[in-house]
Symmetry: C2
Subunit: 326 residues, 2 copies
Amino acid sequence: MGPCLSETELISRFFNFDIPNHWPSQGIGDDCAIMQVGASRIAVTTDTLACGTHFLPDVNPYTVGRKSLAVNLSDLAAAGARPRCFFLALSLPETNLEWLEAFSRGLFEMAREYDCPLIGGDTTKTAKVGNLQAPFSLTITAMGEVKKGLTRAGAKVGDDIWVSGTPGDAYLALMLRTGEWSGVCSEHAARAMDNPTPRVALGQFLEGRASACADISDGFLKDLGNILSRSNVGARINVDALAASDDLNSRPLEQKRMAQLAGGDDYELVWTAPVCMRAEISAYAKQCPALCFSRVGEVTPSGLMLFDDKGREVKNIYHGFDHFSQ
Amino acid sequence: MGPCLSETELISRFFNFDIPNHWPSQGIGDDCAIMQVGASRIAVTTDTLACGTHFLPDVNPYTVGRKSLAVNLSDLAAAGARPRCFFLALSLPETNLEWLEAFSRGLFEMAREYDCPLIGGDTTKTAKVGNLQAPFSLTITAMGEVKKGLTRAGAKVGDDIWVSGTPGDAYLALMLRTGEWSGVCSEHAARAMDNPTPRVALGQFLEGRASACADISDGFLKDLGNILSRSNVGARINVDALAASDDLNSRPLEQKRMAQLAGGDDYELVWTAPVCMRAEISAYAKQCPALCFSRVGEVTPSGLMLFDDKGREVKNIYHGFDHFSQ
């Protein structure tokens, strides 16, 4: 393993090119790039998912199809975009028709649910490693349309901090399935890991209302941290204000907090919004009975402070997911 | 290895979804998707390149950087597009700073030469295969702007068939480097394989003049075949009319023809154009002294017939590259 360089450091050191842009954009560092193309503003995201890194080796190909598109739609949601189309680059060890049929079914279902057609792509064979063929991996590039678009920059001191759903359930499922934690994986936790719902409608509602937004695919505190550093502000968070599933509430407190705060692989949204938006957001929440919204803290001038319901400080030992820092 | 299914069959069987498109496009089957976004028309392409499949294991990372973007720019060229930006999804076995530095330098040089900024991306770790880490792979999605755009559909009976450059040189380099053919790899052939020039200016010139266009990344006859089937026409080709490099001319005829007709990994363009365009195309060719243009045949109602300078039929035993049919 090479030197310990975070993904963010790696990007800013090696991929921060200074080349004039005919399609003005906000630069690297958000869930999506947002570009002005003529009179239209488009949001674009690209994500690689690989067997062994993002999926357990025995994953069902139907799950791979649904989830691969879902995580890209989640990035579009974080930008407030309406999904428009996607591209698929698929690398397979072999032409397995049964695998392809189930993968394609899952992918197509998700594409149809969100009106997001497949427009192009590329299929290749994976590399040989020793005598074995590397397992599947795929990259999806998804594109959407925004009015103005949401980024991670824009949080203002005094803004509320909100989160959708019950973060931590996907991480709980992973810990249970890999045997790191003992117990049986519930249907609810399995669904959070296998079949996440991208918050596309919520993202569109937040456009024009939230001051900054991200999905929490790398873990709540890490993705909130990206908002804070891009916006040059800090935050005070009541960790007990985060909604938790019954599954997580039944775990030891330490496990619950680790899953909620650092878990990753959740496709909920975290956003900041001015206090004057509280009523409107709460009214919207009432229209979504299947989805809870938590108001978990406020934006401060600097630093990140965690505390609990009793006002006691909670030490921040929760670090989200980074491919190259492990 | 699974059943023998070509890439085209695989795509039409598993990835031909019927979902309404808010951004009208021409459907799957060209080098680029061309979409109408508001008043703008954009071309988008995505290509995966992997160590062991597209690059020899000992490839220089600087070469990987240049060539990865070049092959995507070549797809934009085939659509007649002006490059606008690209996205990079990079999978690495480890954080190797020396590798990253050289890769980034090659990528950035190519990006600057073609005014094509990097706007977003994703970095991940490759999968573990047995005890080994899979080698690098990367997917680039490149975007450009077209007036109307060129596709593979549109060739008309009686049109001329043209090719740029001297196809076959990259294949010659591969055969020599892997020891399949004996001899020393010249600098010219090495450059064709390592540092191809995407024909971006030529593609823009051809927009509005050519009736169909493709790059010949999968081999001249295979990519011409894609034009013919998408346009529902045939062709008569004089194989001796294809310009050949001195390197290829010094090889046995069988090797020369294999490289020229089926080689692949060339990033020249093949296009069809009405006879009335001959003068204009020849005049443009005179402005590009470093690049030769060959007029190699004509579009016919059906079939593909190869013949030589003496009018003798040449048997078509030349099949281009397909990842899943080998």
